[in-house]
């Protein structure tokens, strides 16, 4: 077995069997399961707790066709009277009083305690729909006319006059792109943060314990550097496969397989090239931060300093993450465009633009090429520096450490 393989084998085995790896992987799986089985968990915990809403209908309109019972809400139709007392006693969670106001539906929502935002929004939405139907009922329309009005969404066709541009994405495709990109952004952020920390700490620990000096007698620094990056990358890949596989299994088998349609819908609404770009950006970004992590780890003299030196890289990932979050609301801003080209953040930001905006095909290629060039440049620069820094021990901040390395090795 080559020295490179021996080093990778040791690192991989040590990390995969470590308590922290097993526990975090299990924790992520538990969180994913929690999301997947949320409706079942909610039923289990909150079963039988449907809130009772009293409805006082002072109009002639059959409001029961709109306000229908759900798992969370149960409507009771009452005459006005002791509502206030029942609200106070907790018999009713809230009460709607519906009346006519010049042909429009007027609704008064009462509750004993102020309502949470979610409930406010849900009630307003239900009453808004009731208001529309009430207005229609006032017009004395035939059932066909009512049906026409209810299905009156316009048929919209997007047409871009720029012949160089691709056909625009539909709003559904863009929304799917936003959510997938959001998930990808979170994955990149979590993976980069975890594995940047892992590689920095690992190199720092070997250097601090002086085990590195014994290793470097046998292996060249470049082999050691490469083995750290590839080894930690394989650990990250393993965790990714476990979590992704777990997610697919959960989607396939939770809720009687109904959630599997989410996967098929996503696959239908997003192109293959989009997924290829995402995988490329994801892996290259992780690789880039692993290179930075290994380099920073080689600068410290003891493992306690690892947190200090990795801070700049963590800040870069945070910037990328927050810029990506701003894109959730509007992915077409200049901020998003600029950061989608910066290699340290493009992995998190460009997938958002790719999925949720209409852009020229050359733009992601430029961003991707910039990322590849940066990774390669960083790799060779870091390798050259690593050879010098890995056996140099110094104190002070990161810049001071770099200066010391140059001072004592040139």
């Amino acid at each position: 077995m080559s020295k490179f393989k021996v080093l990778i084998k040791k690192l991989y085995k040590q990390k995969i069997t470590s308590k922290s790896f097993i526990l975090t992987t299990l924790l992520y799986l538990v969180v994913l399961s929690g999301f997947m089985f949320w409706s079942e968990i909610k039923d289990l915990i909150f079963s039988g707790d449907a809130d009772t809403i009293a409805v006082v209908n002072e109009t002639e309109f059959d409001i029961a066709q709109v306000l229908q019972d759900t798992d969370d809400v149960e409507y009771v139709y009452v005459e006005s009277g002791d509502i206030a007392d029942k609200l106070k006693d907790g018999d009713y969670y809230a009460a709607f009083t519906l009346s006519d106001a010049d042909g429009k539906l007027a609704a008064k929502i009462e509750s004993y305690d102020p309502l949470p935002l979610n409930d406010q929004q849900d009630f307003q939405s239900a009453l808004s729909q009731a208001g529309q139907l009430y207005a229609m009922s006032q017009m004395e329309l035939s059932p066909e006319q009512q049906q026409l009005l209810l299905s009156s969404e316009p048929v919209i066709t997007l047409n871009s006059l720029n012949e160089a541009a691709d056909d625009g994405k539909s709003a559904e495709e863009k929304m799917a792109g936003v959510w997938v990109s959001y998930a990808i952004g979170i994955i990149i952020y979590i993976f980069v943060a975890s594995y940047l920390s892992m590689i920095t700490t690992d190199v720092a620990s070997e250097k601090g314990s002086r085990a590195l000096e014994m290793l470097l007698v046998s292996v060249k620094p470049e082999v050691h550097f490469r083995s750290k990056i590839v080894g930690v990358f394989l650990v990250a890949l393993t965790q990714f496969v476990i979590l992704f596989g777990g997610l697919l299994l959960l989607l396939r088998f939770s809720d009687g397989g109904n959630k599997w349609s989410i996967v098929t819908d996503l696959l239908n609404s997003l192109s293959i090239s989009y997924f290829l770009y995402i995988i490329g950006f994801l892996f290259l970004t992780i690789f880039m931060y692993l290179i930075i992590g290994a380099l920073f780890g080689s600068l410290v003299s003891k493992v306690e300093e690892a947190g200090q030196v990795m801070m700049p890289a963590m800040m870069l990932t945070l910037v990328g993450f927050y810029v990506m979050l701003t894109g959730m609301g509007n992915p077409d801003t200049m901020l998003i465009k600029v950061f989608s080209y910066i290699p340290f953040t493009s992995g998190m930001v460009m997938p958002m633009r790719l999925g949720a905006t209409d852009m020229n095909a050359i733009e992601p290629i430029i961003s991707f090429v910039l990322l590849v060039v940066t990774v390669l440049t960083l790799y060779f620069l870091s390798l050259s520096f690593y050879k010098r820094s890995v056996l140099t021990y110094s104190s002070g901040g990161i810049i001071e450490k770099m200066k010391t390395v140059f001072k004592v090795t040139t």
């Binding site: 021996v6 070997e206 314990s209 014994m214 290793l215 001072k407 040139t410």
Partner: protein, 300 residues
């Protein structure tokens, strides 16, 4: 001749760590590199190990530039003790052996042998971080030579060891030498160097003060250390011819440092006056004393 350093210099901008260093180590010998902290020992080791480039000069192994020789012929025990804290002792030894290209079957016999020899049987499956300092040092020493290197470098192998473990390590080093291994080591404990080394190099601030056999070094100073048992006072002894320094010790014993060994017969006559004398011993200076004399000269 196996290892040769020829005019080796290591310069960092305005600081010279090692200056025109020359020495040769023969196959199967134990060679000592001694000097104070900062004398350039570790830098020299790192240049031999190809962990640092030389600024000038050449380092060869069997006539070949050391850079062109496979790294598996080397073993190294760094000055700062360090092994993988989370790895078990046995696992650690297999790892270092495999790293040098040996397979598990080859290693098993040797690992068993050394674990038993260093009394580590009970610690075989224990994580290194739980070991005592002495045991860690033993594990690290085994790790440095488990692949049977032709050339072993030991940087301060005895520091921090109790006398029992020190003896164990010394015997192991002699055993390895007898197996044909060439060993270069540094130590601040001169009695160990004196006991183990055939040849040595004395470093001071990157400069070689002496390189050669221990006996040749001692001969440079001659037999000038005279130990006597007498009831004569410090003043009387100080006034004897050729006496540079007198140190009174316990049990009526005094150690006289002579200008030259030819004064010894005259002092013998003055001390004995034709009568029986219990102790009169003329010897070379110890390496410790030579080290203080040579390396300590000019230092406050």
């Amino acid at each position: 001749m196996v290892l040769q350093l020829k005019d080796v210099t290591k310069r960092y901008r305005d600081f010279v760590a090692v200056n025109r260093l020359n020495f040769t180590i023969e196959k199967g010998e134990i060679f000592g590199l001694i000097g104070q902290n900062g004398a350039g020992k570790t830098t020299t080791f790192r240049m031999i190990l190809d962990l640092q480039d030389t600024t000038e000069g050449t380092i060869t192994w069997d006539g070949q530039p050391i850079k062109s020789v496979s790294r598996d012929f080397l073993g190294y025990l760094p000055e700062e003790r360090g092994i993988f804290p989370q790895m078990k002792v046995e696992e650690q030894l297999y790892f270092f052996g495999e790293l040098h290209g040996m397979d598990k079957n080859e290693l098993k016999k040797d690992i068993d042998f050394w674990i038993e020899r260093f009394d580590l049987e009970e610690k075989r499956n224990v994580k290194a971080e739980t070991l005592s300092k002495g045991n860690k040092q033993k594990v690290q020493l085994i790790a440095s030579f488990i692949h049977k290197p032709a050339f072993l470098i030991l940087d301060e192998p005895f520091s921090g060891l109790d006398p029992v473990n020190m003896e164990l390590l010394k015997n192991a080093i002699l055993y390895l030498r007898d197996q044909g291994m060439t060993i270069l080591f540094s130590s601040h404990q001169m009695d160990n160097v004196e006991e183990l080394c055939d040849h040595l190099c004395l470093l001071k601030r990157g400069e070689s003060l002496f390189s050669g056999s221990l006996l040749d070094l001692k001969k440079q100073y001659g037999k000038t250390k005279l130990t006597v048992r007498t009831d004569k006072s410090f003043e009387i002894l100080s006034n004897y011819p050729g006496v540079n320094h007198v140190k009174m010790e316990r049990d009526s014993q005094a150690v006289l440092t002579l200008e030259d060994e030819r004064y010894a017969p005259e002092i013998f006559d003055l001390l004995s006056n034709g009568n029986y004398i219990e102790k009169f011993s003329l010897d070379y200076l110890s390496l410790h004393e030579i080290f203080k004399e040579k390396v300590g000269a000019g230092l406050v």
